[in-house]
C-alpha cells in the first residue's frame, strides 16, 4: 500500500477512535450537567445541600448493586436477578434474625452473613450455569431471578418483616458529618471496585476476557472461572444492597425494590460501559448512577406525575443504548480500516495467501 494512503488511513482511523471514545465519555457527563441545570431551574430546593445529601442517600444502594453489575457487563454478560436477590437477602436476614434457630436468633451479624451467603450462592449457581454449561447469562439470570423471588414469597407468604433490631436501623441512618453513612459505604465500595479493576490482575483479566475472550484464553486466562466469579460477585453485591435497603427502610419488604434492576443496568449502560464488554468501568458507572439519581430526585421535586420518571428513564436508556452501539460501530470501522479489513479489502488481506 502506498505510504500516502497508509498515512491518511492512519489519521482517519485515529480520528475515528478518538471521536468514538470522546463521544462515549462526554455524553454522560454532558447529560448529567444538563439535568442538573434543568432541575436547578425547575426547583429551588434542588441545589440545596439538604437535597444533595438526600440524593446521596437515595443512590447509595444503587451504587453498590451497580458496581457488581459493572463487572458483569464488562465481561459481556448481564445479570437480571439483582433486584430479586436483594429482596431475598433482606428477607432471609430478617427471617433468620427472628427465627428460633439458636445460632441466628438475635444475632444480627451472623444473620447478615448467612443471608449474604445465600445471595452469593445464587450468584455462583448462575455463574456456573453460564460458564460451565454455556447457557446465556440473560436466560440463566431470568431463572435465578424467579428462584430468588420464589424463595422470598414462599418463606414470607408475601408479608414484610418489621421486627428488626435498632442496630440495623442505625446502619441505615447514621451520618458522617453531613453525609449519610450509607453513602460513605457506597463510596468505599466504588473505590474498592475501581482499584480492583485498575490495579489488579483480576481486574485486568475482566477487561481482557470481555474485550477478546479468545485472546484471553490463548494466554492462559481461565475465562470460565472469570465469568463464574463475576456473576457470583454480582449476586453478593446485590445481597449487600438488599441488606442495606432493609437498614434504610427499617423493614424487610417483599416488594418495592424491583427498580434496582433496571436502574443498575441503566446506570452501567448510560455511563458508557459497552454492553459487548471490555470497555468502560466504575467511573462510567458513577456517572450513570448520578444521572439516574438526579433524574429520580429532580422529577420527584417537580412533583408533576411521579410516573413520568419511568418514561424519562426509558428514553435516556434508549438514547444511551443507541450511543453505545454507535460508538462501538465507529470504533469497529476504525479498527477495520486500520487493519485494512473492509468488506472487499478483507478478501484482499486473505486471498493472496489463501488462494
Amino acid at each position: 500500500m502506498p505510504e500516502m494512503i497508509k498515512k491518511s488511513i492512519h489519521k482517519s482511523s485515529r480520528l475515528g477512535s478518538i471521536v468514538s471514545s470522546r463521544l462515549a465519555s462526554f455524553t454522560p457527563l454532558l447529560t448529567l450537567l444538563a439535568l442538573v441545570v434543568l432541575f436547578s431551574f425547575t426547583s429551588e430546593k434542588f441545589l440545596s445541600w439538604n437535597n444533595m445529601a438526600n440524593i446521596a442517600g437515595q443512590i447509595s444502594v444503587l451504587c453498590i448493586v451497580a458496581s457488581g453489575m459493572t463487572l458483569v457487563v464488562l465481561m459481556g454478560e448481564i445479570d437480571l436477578s439483582v433486584a430479586n436477590i436483594a429482596m431475598m437477602t433482606g428477607i432471609i436476614m430478617a427471617m433468620l434474625y427472628n427465627s428460633a434457630i439458636s445460632i441466628f436468633a438475635g444475632h444480627l451479624v451472623i444473620s447478615i452473613l448467612a443471608a449474604l451467603l445465600a445471595a452469593l450462592g445464587i450468584g455462583i449457581v448462575a455463574g456456573f450455569s453460564v460458564a460451565r454449561l454455556g447457557i446465556p447469562s440473560f436466560a440463566v439470570t431470568l431463572a435465578t431471578m424467579q428462584i430468588s423471588r420464589g424463595i422470598t414469597m414462599t418463606v414470607t407468604e408475601g408479608r414484610p418483616i418489621y421486627e428488626l433490631p435498632d442496630s440495623l436501623r442505625a446502619i441505615g441512618s447514621f451520618r458522617i458529618g453531613p453525609l449519610p453513612g450509607l453513602f460513605v459505604i457506597a463510596i468505599s465500595v466504588l473505590v474498592l471496585f475501581y482499584l480492583v479493576l485498575k490495579y489488579t490482575h483480576y481486574g485486568r483479566y475482566i477487561y481482557a476476557v470481555g474485550g477478546n475472550r479468545a485472546a484471553a484464553k490463548m494466554v492462559g486466562i481461565r475465562t470460565r472461572l472469570m465469568t463464574a466469579s463475576v456473576m457470583a460477585i454480582s449476586g453478593l453485591m446485590a445481597g449487600i444492597g438488599g441488606v442495606l435497603t432493609v437498614a434504610r427502610l427499617g423493614s424487610a419488604q417483599t416488594f418495592g425494590s424491583e427498580d434496582i434492576l433496571i436502574d443498575s443496568l441503566a446506570a452501567v449502560v448510560i455511563g458508557g460501559t459497552a454492553l459487548s464488554g471490555g470497555v468502560g468501568g466504575i467511573a462510567n458507572t458513577v456517572l450513570g448512577v448520578l444521572i439516574l439519581g438526579v433524574l429520580n430526585n429532580g422529577l420527584n421535586q417537580m412533583s408533576s406525575n411521579i410516573f413520568l420518571k419511568y418514561l424519562f428513564k426509558g428514553l435516556i436508556l434508549l438514547a444511551a443504548l443507541v450511543i453505545n452501539i454507535f460508538t462501538g460501530w465507529v470504533k469497529e470501522r476504525a479498527q477495520m480500516r486500520q487493519t485494512g479489513q473492509t468488506c472487499e479489502d478483507l478478501d484482499s488481506e486473505t486471498s493472496p495467501n489463501l488462494s
Binding site: 482511523s13 485472546a215 484464553k217 478478501d347 484482499s348 493472496p352 488462494s355
Partner: protein, 495 residues
C-alpha cells in the same frame, strides 16, 4: 456438443495494493468438463474464484458467460448467471429436511404464503433421481454425513439453475468412501453437460477427476493442459515458484541424538475429527514442523496440545510427566505457549501495545497488583528483542502493522522463557519483509533452547524454519523429513 466455452475469462488482472494476485490470466470453462485449477498458496486460485462468484467486483479484463460479456456486481449476479459455488455445508439449514433445503428460498406454493408440500415432495424426488442421488428427502440434513450434505448442497445449486459448479477444496473433510461417492457424482454431473470447476490441494484427486488442468503460479497462468499430459511430479514442478530462502539458519538436527530427552512427546494422540494416532517428539532447541493441507488436522492437533480441544486418545508427555486434562491455563503454567492462526484471536484491540504484551505475563511481572512501570519496561524489553516498530509501548495495538503485531504476540511468549512454543501459521498474511523478520526471530528463540512446533500449510515456512518436519494427510502422520530432505517439493508430494 457446443464448442463455445460456457465461461471465458480473458486478460484478467487483479491487484490488492502493491500485490498482484492475478496477472493477465486467460482461462475458459466448457460444458461437460471438469476443469481443475491448481497452484500454490497465493497463486491466485481463490481470487479467480472470487471474481467468478462476484465477490471481487473490481478487476481488469473481461468475463464472458455464454458469449455475453458480464461484470458481476455481487454474488447474486453470479448465481443468476448460473454459477454456483459449494462451500462446505455452509448454506444448509441442518434442522430442515433435504427437500426443504433444496427448495430453500423458492418453496412452491399453491396459495400465497402457504407451502405446497405435495409439489415439494414430487419435485424433490424428481430432482434427486435426476442427479442419481438416492437418499431420503424427508430426513433432516443434520443426520446426514458431511459428504451427503455436500451433495445436497450441489443439488440445491443445480436446482437453482446453475450450470457451473465450483468445488473449492471439497474433499478436505471427507472420508475416502465419501470422496469416491462425490467423484462418481461429479462424473454424472459432467454427463449432464454441467461444467465443474475443481480446486484442490490434493493433486492425485485432481488428476483423477479432471479433464483439463490449469496451473497458476504467482498470479500468472502457466498453461492449461489436458489431464492425460500431466502427472503429479510434473504438476509440482510446474507450479512451484522458485523459492529463495530469506533467512539462513543452521539446521541442528545433528545435535539431537536418540538418547536425548524430548520436551514434548505425543504418544498415539487422537483428536476426533482432526488427527488419529499421532506420535512424535520435540526436543529442546529444535523446530519441528507439522505440515499439512487444509483439513489435514494439524491445527486441531496443535489446539489440543494447548487444551483448546479435547484429546480423545493417547498421551501427551511434557518432559517426564504425562499431561492429564490439558487446559490453556494449565498448559501455559507448565510452560507451553500457543500462537493461534488468526491474529485477531490473539491481540486485544483497543488497548496499548504494552497491555497486549503484559496480558500474557501478569503473573510473572507482579504477584497481585499491576505496576504500570514494570508493565511498560517489560513491553520495552519485548520491543527491543523483537525489533517492533515503532518502538512505542503506549501506542494502540491496532496501529501497528500486521508483522509488528505478530512480533509482539511472539515476543510476549518469551518474557517468561517457555519450554514449548506452538506457532500456527507464523507468517500468515505478511509481506516478504515481515515474514523474514518473524522467521529470524523463531531461529533466535530456538537457539535459546525452546522447543518449537510450527504448524503451517505453507511449505516455504516449513522449509525456512524447521529442523524436522512431519507431514500430515487427512489426519494421519504420513511422512517425516529431516534436515535437507525438507524441501517444498517433498512436502507437497507427501501431503
Amino acid at each position: 456438443m457446443d464448442e463455445t466455452p460456457l465461461i471465458e475469462m480473458t486478460k484478467i488482472s487483479k491487484r490488492f495494493g502493491a500485490i498482484v494476485a492475478l496477472d493477465n490470466v486467460d482461462i475458459d470453462f466448457r460444458r461437460g468438463e471438469v476443469h481443475s485449477i491448481v497452484g500454490e498458496n497465493g497463486a491466485g486460485k481463490s481470487t479467480l474464484v472470487k471474481i467468478l462468484t462476484g465477490y471481487h467486483t473490481t478487476y481488469d479484463g473481461c468475463v464472458t458467460v455464454r458469449g455475453q460479456i458480464v461484470r458481476f456486481q455481487g454474488p447474486r449476479d453470479s448465481l443468476n448467471a448460473g454459477i454456483g459455488c459449494v462451500y462446505q455445508e455452509r448454506n444448509l439449514v441442518p434442522a430442515l429436511s433435504v427437500a426443504e433445503n433444496i427448495f430453500l428460498g423458492r418453496m412452491p406454493s399453491s396459495f400465497p404464503g402457504l407451502v405446497d408440500w405435495k409439489q415439494v415432495r414430487r419435485e424433490a424426488v424428481k430432482q434427486l433421481e435426476m442427479l442419481g442421488l438416492n437418499f431420503d428427502y424427508e430426513q433432516k440434513v443434520e443426520y446426514y454425513p458431511l459428504g451427503m450434505r455436500q451433495m445436497t448442497e450441489i443439488a440445491r445449486i443445480i436446482f437453482s439453475g446453475a450450470e457451473v459448479i465450483i468445488l473449492d477444496e471439497p474433499t478436505s473433510a471427507l472420508s475416502i468412501a465419501e470422496r469416491n461417492r462425490l467423484f462418481e457424482f461429479v462424473q454424472r454431473l459432467k454427463k449432464q453437460d454441467k461444467c465443474i470447476i475443481y480446486i484442490s490441494h490434493f493433486l492425485e484427486e485432481v488428476l483423477d477427476v479432471s479433464d483439463r488442468i490449469t496451473i497458476l503460479k504467482d498470479g500468472r497462468k502457466v498453461n492449461t493442459y489436458a489431464c492425460s499430459d500431466l502427472d503429479k511430479d510434473t504438476i509440482i514442478r510446474l507450479m512451484s515458484r522458485r523459492f529463495v530462502k530469506t533467512v539462513e539458519g543452521v539446521r541442528q538436527r545433528a545435535v539431537i541424538g536418540a538418547s536425548d530427552k524430548p520436551v514434548l512427546e505425543c504418544r498415539a494422540v487422537t483428536v476426533t475429527g482432526n488427527v488419529v494416532d499421532a506420535s512424535f517428539k520435540v526436543h529442546a532447541g529444535e523446530a519441528l514442523g507439522l505440515y499439512g493441507n487444509v483439513g489435514s488436522g494439524t491445527t486441531g492437533l496443535a489446539e489440543a496440545l494447548f487444551g483448546l480441544r479435547a484429546i480423545e486418545g493417547g498421551e501427551v508427555w511434557l518432559e517426564d510427566k504425562p499431561l492429564k486434562k490439558i487446559s490453556p491455563h494449565l498448559a501455559s503454567r507448565l510452560g507451553i505457549r500457543f500462537i493461534p492462526e488468526e491474529r485477531r484471536s490473539a491481540i486485544w484491540l483497543g488497548q496499548k501495545l504494552s497491555r497486549n504484551i503484559s496480558l500474557a505475563n501478569l503473573q510473572t511481572l507482579s504477584r497481585f497488583l499491576i505496576h504500570e512501570k514494570t508493565e511498560t519496561s517489560a513491553a520495552q524489553k519485548v520491543i527491543g528483542v523483537m525489533d517492533i516498530l515503532p518502538p512505542d509501548p503506549h501506542m494502540l495495538v491496532e496501529w501497528f502493522s500486521g508483522g509488528n503485531q505478530q512480533k509482539a504476540i511472539v515476543g510476549r511468549c518469551l518474557l517468561d522463557p517457555p519450554k514449548v512454543l506452538i506457532v500456527c501459521e507464523p507468517a500468515n498474511g505478511m509481506d516478504v519483509g515481515a515474514k523474514a523478520g518473524i522467521i529470524q526471530k523463531l531461529w533466535a528463540i530456538k537457539e535459546q533452547g525452546v522447543a518449537i512446533l510450527i504448524i503451517s500449510s505453507d511449505p516455504e515456512v516449513i522449509v525456512e524454519t524447521c529442523d524436522r518436519s512431519l507431514v500430515f494427510r487427512r489426519g494421519a502422520l504420513c511422512a517425516e523429513l529431516h534436515g535437507d530432505q525438507i524441501s517444498k517439493e517433498e512436502l507437497v508430494r507427501y501431503a
